[in-house]
Amino acid sequence: MANFIDRRLNPKDKNLGNRRRFIRRVRSYVKQAVDEAVKKRGIADVDRGGKVSVPADSIHEPHFHHASEGGRRERVLPGNKHFRAGDRIDKPPGGGGGRGRKGAPSGDGEDDFVFALSREELLDVFFEDLELPDMIKKTLKEVEATEPKRAGISVTGTPGNLNVRRTMRNAFGRRLALRRPSDAAVSALRARLFDLEEIHEPDEAQREELLAIRAELDELLRRQKRVPYLDPLDVRYNYFEPKPRPKSNAVMFCLMDVSASMGEREKDLAKRFFVLLHLFLSRRYERVELVFIRHTHYASEVDEDTFFHSRETGGTVVSTALREMQRVVEERYAPSEWNIYAAQASDGDNYTGDSAGCVQLLNEGLMGLCQYFAYIEIIAEEEARFLKSDRNGTELWLAYRQVAEQWGNFAMKRISRPSDIYPVFRELFARRSAKAADA
């Protein structure tokens, strides 16, 4: 007697715990891979999951075992073709005797150990530096929500989804086509039959009529039975398909100062800032377009690669970027159809006297169009120590402070570390959950 057990429905991912331990173990390499992803990939692609390469040495599980060379050994091999006892076979040059072992599963090979990181795992590591609150990490990682949408009629389904009208219409059509006797016709005939049967002494004609009616009634009833009132063929169900929640479109403007004072560190921080905003937006909107505007003393719209990687020289006139943004909005993104977000990164330098122009541009034009405008000023870590107060700073900073006072949807922050980035979005997120609570 054997006991058969179906284990297929047992909980999956038994190995998740081991996998987590493994990833923790190779943390530094995972971190490296994620940093690489942030650096190399487009803003919208950062969260695609990634590949981690770990040097086999660092996860080697050692134990005592014999060396592959040295000493005297004897092997028995199959498939002798022409050897005779006493033959000498030259060893291959360089290698030892016999054949080299192929990479054992324990990872003795010298190649790197490569594995894929899922989107979740990658975001975990990405968020780590940003010090996001847990609740927000979770919402950002969630895959898009769907809701069932009517998508036509189906012949299968649950009783709850029965489409009564369609079902009855089909039944009616079928009854007509197959000439099912109507209930009215049957009951009329039946009434006539009763009348005839009431008669005590029927005459010849009545007797014949009685017989004829009986026969006819039998026939009708038989036909009624054969052609049912409601047939399984008639039944129709409403069909639903899961559809992503309707969301409108958003466009995200990335504005950045690319003058020589913005180095690798500054650009990396700026990129993390843009990635995070993009993650927020892609959670919220079905489609998020990205527009990159870089500026020195003049501004231009460029593609992402140029934005982050090419170098420009020149002065710094911030208002040119705002003007360029205004131009692009007018040209392509009508505020009635698009939700407009802007994220600006700079090191705070601006051409003397230009900042007032920026304030004017924002106050009178852009802020009215934007859902949210986030500005970060990237400063060195030493600077962060003495620039404690928001009240002093560069001319641009002070000018933007005026904007922030006037507009609730303008956020600004000085950052020197990745963990400083999130607070810029705190408000944005808070507004959103407040809205959700209202709904």
Partner: protein, 496 residues
Amino acid sequence: MPKGKRKPELLFQGADWDFDTLRRTYDAMEQIAREDLDLDFYRNQIEIISSEQMLDAYSSVGMPLMYRHWSFGKHFIHHERLYRKGAQGLAYEIVINSNPCISYCMEENTMPLQALVIAHAAFGHNHFFKNNHLFRQWTDPDGFLEYLNYAKAYIQRCEERHGAVEVERLLDSAHALMPSSVFRHRRPPAPSEREARARERLRLEEEERSVNYLWDAMPGSRRPAPDGSDLRERLRSMRLPEENLLYFIENHSPTLKPWQRQVLRIVRNISQYFYPQKQTQVMNEGCACFVHWEMLNRLHERGRIDDGAMIEVLHHHTNVITQPDFDDRRFGGINPYALGFAMMQDIKRICVDPTEEDRAWFPEIAGKGDWRGVLKDAWANYRDESFIQQYLSPKVMRDFRLFACADEAAEPWVTVSGIHDERGYLDVREALARSRDIAVREPDIQIVDVDLLGDRVLRLKHFERDGIPLERAPREATLAHLRHLWGHGVALEETR
């Protein structure tokens, strides 16, 4: 084969299976196992799993339950990658030496394959587990799954109490010593696994309540006696030399805490559990292949399975028992399935239809007819090395075209020391048997001395055989782990 003669009795047709078919087929096979082959096996428990669950089982050394450790995650990722790329197929089954005997069969298997797998694992391996003397002596099939369950829970508790990092470091070190932590020559000094465990738990709880170290009670310093009787006494009291490294550390480490000792004990118990498997690869797989071959042929002869199913069975069977030549790209050593199956088939042939040569080589079994008895005796009382020594016949050596070569590191050539001919049979057989001997395959490392009242340096010796040294880098890395566990100095010396 007269086709369709007994069609109504077919157990199944086509590739699809369901649980009724499995049960029906199992019952038919059980009848053959008992009546025709006279097998003796544990009650079977057959579990159907998905490919993902198979990968899970792969990564935790084939066990259904295992404590958590990063290395299992690594193995999982490794196997998963190979599998997804298509570079590696998954095993059709995994069988566990337990009572009842659990075999896992993949849901993707077709019905003929399920039949093959059940015959192979649930009858072949099962019979071997229950009867082979190594398994009987060294493993505890009744309690092992329960023990793993206990081990898993215990290590989880340790992680909660002492932190995952601490436990991980301990396990890393213990795993490094795992292969060098089995009793090869004497039985573990424990009455029965379960009794010992109960006692151990009581002892640990007691100990944890009142932390007092054994070593505090030792007298302070003594002068060594001039005649070395001290040393002898010391070695005797610690039962040195000791080949089971973890066992010694568990019992004599001056620094480990009780829970750490218990974790070491768990690791070495698991290591010990696999010790018989390592020594019986050829026999175990040979037995399983022989059994499935006999069983499915009987089913086919009796018209219980159709030609289509049999062809599929033959296809898998030949895949499994293929032995590529030494100069073939696919060559990866002697295939234990091939060698085991060939030898057992050969034993049957010698019993039933011997040649003159067989009569000369195997006078005690040739022509005696009772191949079942001979095989059962072999399965019960031998391990790979002795089985080959006893039963490898000239015919099998010729069929495999086996040849032995000697490889001296200092010489630029390899010498063919014997081939499959009259003069070479004994040499080749001897060499093959030796190469399957675990004492030759694995390094012999023993703890020879430690002065607990002195410098506490743990002294080990590697008894080199044929001048084969230890691989350098892993030797150092493993010693580092040993030092971590022991908490004091460690010295490993090579002896020829």
